[in-house]
Every structure is written in structure tokens, then in C-alpha cells.
Symmetry: C2
Subunit: 238 residues, 2 copies
């Protein structure tokens, strides 16, 4: 959970990096790479409405020179309960800072994704999982809070070989935990992330990578660029 | 994690029950039902070698009068690392009590399955997840230990709505945690579980529900029936 020192340059550390294709995970991955990690990117085809993000994840994995990129299919429409995995409409021009858990929250999504990341970390021999969660501008998702990340780390150690025979380390690193969206955009520029490759929209107007401009994710993305005084190279439908 | 009191009969408690189709989860589900729980059975098509267990799970869900039965597809062959999800052979006549984590351990499987159960519990409004883990006769799987179950419960509460706006309870109940396989078979008979419906084999010789008789799961199952002085109604190839 803490921000680690760079790994010694003679022993690059493999790391599983959750890569959704969005802005935050791209920046988390770029920070990991800058710190000398060997990236094992992990994405999920969870039958999300915004599957365009999977193409963005593949582009980013290549751009970040990831050692591997694994996409795990898991059909979360069987569970439902979210506008991203059911027929519920994605709210437009809703206030992303409004109190409460928004309808775009996917039940236990980060818990599920981190669990699969723990499996991949074990198979890849990676002692670290990196995740781009942040809860400064958007505290409505319970699974983006630092206290969840710490509790998950403890459970994952006990539920894998890390806590069994060979006492391997397993750390969950959330380098954006305390950053605002504006700070994340600035970090992206500092780390040479090609932001034209990222895709944040929950309800894309087309299959070509455009953003709707009005869902919570688009509003937060726009705010981030505005606060950073930067120009978003992606296209908005309106 | 503790063994709960029966729910008041005028307010049946919905519970998500992990139902693999094997002996242990069938007994855990039967205990939940006997205690007045409304069962939401949850199974996984994780591309396991022994997919015969999924048919067993469907039969058991019907026999246990489950309110719902959800099967979530998740392709864990993308992660691999286990004889159950890769081309590695399933060991035969291996000592299931040998020290170390066996090759049939699927990395982080219970962590992943419990995470999806937490999602379903949230959507179904269920304050409980029941799981048939036990570590008495078979301590090689790290994710069957009580300390893992407790740590998972803490993480799941923080990573879902249970730990957010409405402070819902969420408990993970493992009624077989302290039972030997013999005690589990006895509990099955006490709870009228139709054991002919269960399927335990990791490497089935056919698609008709037979057991190989020599993988770890078959050896433990046979030991359980032997210790309970009971006859296994299922068929063994040898």
C-alpha cells in the first residue's frame, strides 16, 4: 500500500498491474515501469458495457512494454447489480461527488479483480500487485478506499502460497491512492503516458474510442485535465 | 466464521452458498437449509478439468430447493498454475496428507470464488456466505484455513456496500471448518444429503459421474466414507 523505493536495478521485480484501459491504471502501470518493475498486465472481459476499454488496455500494454498481458473473461452479468453489467442506464450529467454509492459501482469488482491478480502474481512469481485506485475526487466506490486495499492484502497473503509453505511476500501497491484527478493527469504527463491511448467512458457513443462526455467517468476525466491545465487528446461526442 | 444460531423462523435469512457439486459444499448447503436459510447457490465454470461437478451442482441445487442457482463463467486457464486448469497431469495415488501445497491447488481459487460470492450476496441482499472449506484431513490448501476465511470476511466488508453507506452485515460461515472427512460424511447422512448426487473426482474417467478412485479428492472421499462406516453410492472406475 505504501509507495515503494525503486527496486535494485540488477534485480527487476515482476509485478502484476491491473490495466483497465482507463487513465488511472495507465498511470499506475507507468509509475511501476519507471520504478523498474517488469509488468504483467491483467485485464478483465467482464461483459462490461464499455468493452472499448479492452482495446485501450491492449494498446497500453504494448506501449508500456509489458512482459505479458492476460485478459481473463468473467461474466459478471450473471451477478448484475450495476449499470455497467446490466440493462440499467448509465446516468448522464449526474454529480460524481454526490454522496452514496453510484449505480455504476460494480459489486465487489476490485475485490474480484485483485483476487485474480493474486492468482496471477503467484503463477508469475510476482511479489507485487499494482492497482490505480484513488478515492480523493470520487469516494463513492467502497472498493477504492485504502483500508480496503490493506485488508485485501492481508487476506490474499493468507489465501495463497504467500501465506503457506514458502512465505513469499505479496504487496498491493496503490500509487494513486492519495492523488486527485488533476494530479493523476500531471503524473501521466510526467511519466510520458500516451493519453490518446486511454479510454475512460462508461457508455461510449461509438466503437472507435470516443467518450460520451457526460457519464461520471467522463466528467471526472474532464475535470482532471482541466485541473492539470492539460488538453485531453481523446475525442468527446459532446 | 462461527457457527450461527438458527435464524428466527419468521424471518428466513437469505444466504449465498458456494456449491461446487462435491461432498463438502453439499453438506454445508444442507446445514444452511436445515438452519432456515434461503439458499442462493453459486457455482463456477472455471474451465476445470472436472466439469462433471457442474452437473452435480445443478442436481444438488434442485434437491436442496435453492431459491436461485447462479453459475459464473471465469476462464482460469488464462492464469493456469494448477493441474485442474492446465495440461499438468492430476497425480494418482499421491498421499493427500503429504506436506506442501499440492499441484491440484488452484491459485487463489477460494479468494476468487468468495469475492464473487460477496458480489452476489450484495445483489441478493444476503448477509451471509456459506462455504464448505475444511482443513482437518487436508491442510495443503492455504485458502481452506480458518484464518484466511476471517481475513477475507474483513476485506469483503470493506470492499462492498457492507462497509459503505448502509453498514450491512456480511458474514462468512464455514460450518465444516473443524470437521474430518468422516464427520462430514456423517453430517451428510444426518442432514439427508443425497450423496449419489455429489461428485468429487478431479480427473473423472468418463462424463457419466464416475470417480477415478485415485486422485487426492477420491482418496479423501473414500477415507471419509470408510471412517464414517458408510457406503458411497457413487461409482468408482477402480
Amino acid at each position: 500500500m505504501t509507495d515503494p523505493e525503486p527496486a535494485p536495478s540488477d534485480a527487476p521485480t515482476p509485478a502484476v498491474v491491473l490495466l483497465s484501459g482507463g487513465l488511472d491504471s495507465a498511470v499506475a502501470a507507468a509509475i511501476a515501469r519507471r520504478r523498474g518493475r517488469i509488468l504483467h498486465a491483467l485485464s478483465f472481459d467482464y461483459h462490461q458495457r464499455h468493452r472499448a476499454e479492452l482495446r485501450a488496455a491492449a494498446r497500453l500494454a504494448r506501449a508500456l512494454a509489458a512482459e505479458s498481458h492476460t485478459t481473463v473473461p468473467i461474466d459478471l452479468t450473471r451477478v448484475g447489480g450495476s449499470a455497467l453489467t446490466s440493462d440499467l442506464p448509465v446516468p448522464k450529467d449526474h454529480d460524481p461527488a454526490a454522496p452514496g454509492v453510484p449505480i455504476t459501482y460494480v459489486p465487489a469488482r476490485n475485490l474480484i479483480f485483485l483476487s485474480v491478480a493474486a492468482a496471477l502474481a503467484e503463477v508469475a512469481g510476482a511479489p507485487e500487485i499494482w492497482i490505480g485506485v484513488n478515492a480523493v475526487d470520487y469516494s463513492g466506490y467502497p472498493d477504492c478506499r485504502p483500508e480496503f486495499i490493506r485488508a485485501f492484502e492481508a487476506a490474499a497473503i493468507l489465501g495463497t502460497k504467500a501465506g503457506a509453505e514458502d512465505a513469499r511476500p505479496l504487496r498491493v501497491i496503490a500509487p494513486l491512492a492519495a492523488m486527485s484527478k488533476g494530479e493523476i493527469v500531471r503524473a501521466a504527463l510526467e511519466h510520458d503516458v500516451d493519453l490518446s491511448l486511454t479510454h475512460s467512458c462508461y457508455d461510449p457513443p461509438d466503437d472507435l474510442g470516443a467518450h460520451c462526455g457526460h457519464c461520471d467517468a467522463c466528467q471526472l476525466r474532464r475535470k482532471g485535465f482541466r485541473d492539470a491545465g492539460a488538453t485531453d487528446p481523446t475525442r468527446y461526442a459532446s
